[in-house]
Symmetry: C2
Subunit: 354 residues, 2 copies
Amino acid sequence: MPDLNRTIAGPGARTGAPPSEPLAVVSRNGHVESVHRGHVAVVDAAGRLLAWAGDPGVFVFPRSSFKPFQAVPIVESGVFARSRLGDEALALMAGSHGGTDRHAALANAILKRAGVDERALRCGTHTPYDEATAAALRSRLEAPSPLRHNCSGKHAGMLLMAQETGAPTDTYIDPTHPVQRRIFARFEELVGEPFVDPVPAIDGCSAPTPRMPLTTLARAFALLATARDHAGRPVEALATIRDAMRSYPENVAGEGRLDTILMRAVANAVSKAGAEGIHATGLIDRGVGIAVKIEDGSRRALGPAAVSTLAAFGVLDEPAREVLAAHAAGPLRNSAGLTVGGIRGVARLRKEEG
Amino acid sequence: MPDLNRTIAGPGARTGAPPSEPLAVVSRNGHVESVHRGHVAVVDAAGRLLAWAGDPGVFVFPRSSFKPFQAVPIVESGVFARSRLGDEALALMAGSHGGTDRHAALANAILKRAGVDERALRCGTHTPYDEATAAALRSRLEAPSPLRHNCSGKHAGMLLMAQETGAPTDTYIDPTHPVQRRIFARFEELVGEPFVDPVPAIDGCSAPTPRMPLTTLARAFALLATARDHAGRPVEALATIRDAMRSYPENVAGEGRLDTILMRAVANAVSKAGAEGIHATGLIDRGVGIAVKIEDGSRRALGPAAVSTLAAFGVLDEPAREVLAAHAAGPLRNSAGLTVGGIRGVARLRKEEG
């Protein structure tokens, strides 16, 4: 007999992975082929857990869903107002844009205000999320500039903040840089709890990125939606950022992408996705934040999981459901273009009894 | 209060997703960011379940791990021997190749024997798996031909079988085509159990693809490794296919890819990956088959999950561990090329007591 390892105590015993629940299912020929599990937390501005799936307290890296909060200091310092850049630039700073010519030009305009150019960006490069733009670059054999990185707006904003506050611009992504310290400290003040990690992680764009319970991310979006801090005090910068995102949803993602469509379709919603299967929504009217983590980090599951979570929470009216249908479920096509199956969201929420 | 949906009975209650266990973990800054769960079945040629993780009886689509069995009829009919194509072509028929110039030329050589050309292929097209080839095509603005599809060898084999047995070549991927009927019927005979679905699904390459318990896939690889059927009767074609795959592992996947490296590194192993997180290995010396399903279908988790499963079963000696290290774990790099975390396999196996 082979030398088998000892049995383990139960699922996740070795990795500490908490129990998750199916949020999206991939099927082929009418049968389940793959399952995307995950976690959901629905929290109000006061921090009450209203509903959940899986483990709402699971620690996550919010990744790009942290962007609206990374923009807070540039607004509160007055730097953004003095720049006269306008809300479309603020939405880009809080967004993960498609890297279109328009997005890149707007990021460049922010950089100009900071007196630098794209060589100052430390975000690196990737193929633009906007498919038509990516195809155009390919056809021109053109390597994408850092301006087309989905985070270039955020980075340009950080550079502008550094320049205008007399901080160095070459080290703006260092966790000890004044801009980063201010971003992290202000978030702790807003949510009323300190970060658990003494040193932040590094994001896909090389900026520092924190880790927090999913419930904290959900609450942060309830605070963004209601423009208040954890103690209920008004925070004008949150209203400014929220309204900029809602006014220019095409700069928060891009045409055809989830957050752009979601903010157009759902009244009073502000939303932002993040890498590795993160999605967060704030509902202004209800004063609630909804955070979703796809456990396996898959991008394909994000729309179905996020939309089915919103549906499960009763957020979507019939027109919104129709507009979001293409993100709630979709066909699985093969190499020859045939539809061979599909993906659909299956999120269900539990709520506290009584 | 919002109108919440009713609670569910437990994880997976709605989708019927059976309990899975962590097989690979993605970390950032030393903390878990994402978890890939899944299922493992280790079965001997007699069908005994020796070890497992998650639900070894979960139904899966073996996808490309079915390819060695799709090649059985062309060998048993004598069509392959009469073609004088050689074992490297048989390995390509059973493989998911990288679409290199050499792979494409070999697929084309099979088509020539069938008296057809690449226009007869129904697999569609995709960017070649071999990265250097993909980059070369991009730099030439060249669209990939169907010959570069990872399944072109399998399709060419099916076309050759159709041509040589007097069946139509234009409908060779129809589930009712004689070639497909023979493939499916012969597999049922080999494993001694009928397929559960009256109509097969459609694979990524448009060929019919079956669904079966993970234990059946594992047992099929035990039978492939031992070249016997479920009743212990010798099956020469299985030995021929197994040996072709082991002799030309570069045609089963490609340089740098999992199955190629695994078959070179592990004595007496025959292995084949499949889309949506499938991997199967047969061990000739032990008469055992090992099948892995990443529940969420992620490609990035496949190497770490498969290698850590083999390690957990005690299959890997120190040299094999070293060679496979790059597939067992790897760094997570961001847009700027910085290492920001990593992925590693964490599979653990349980075994029957006593």
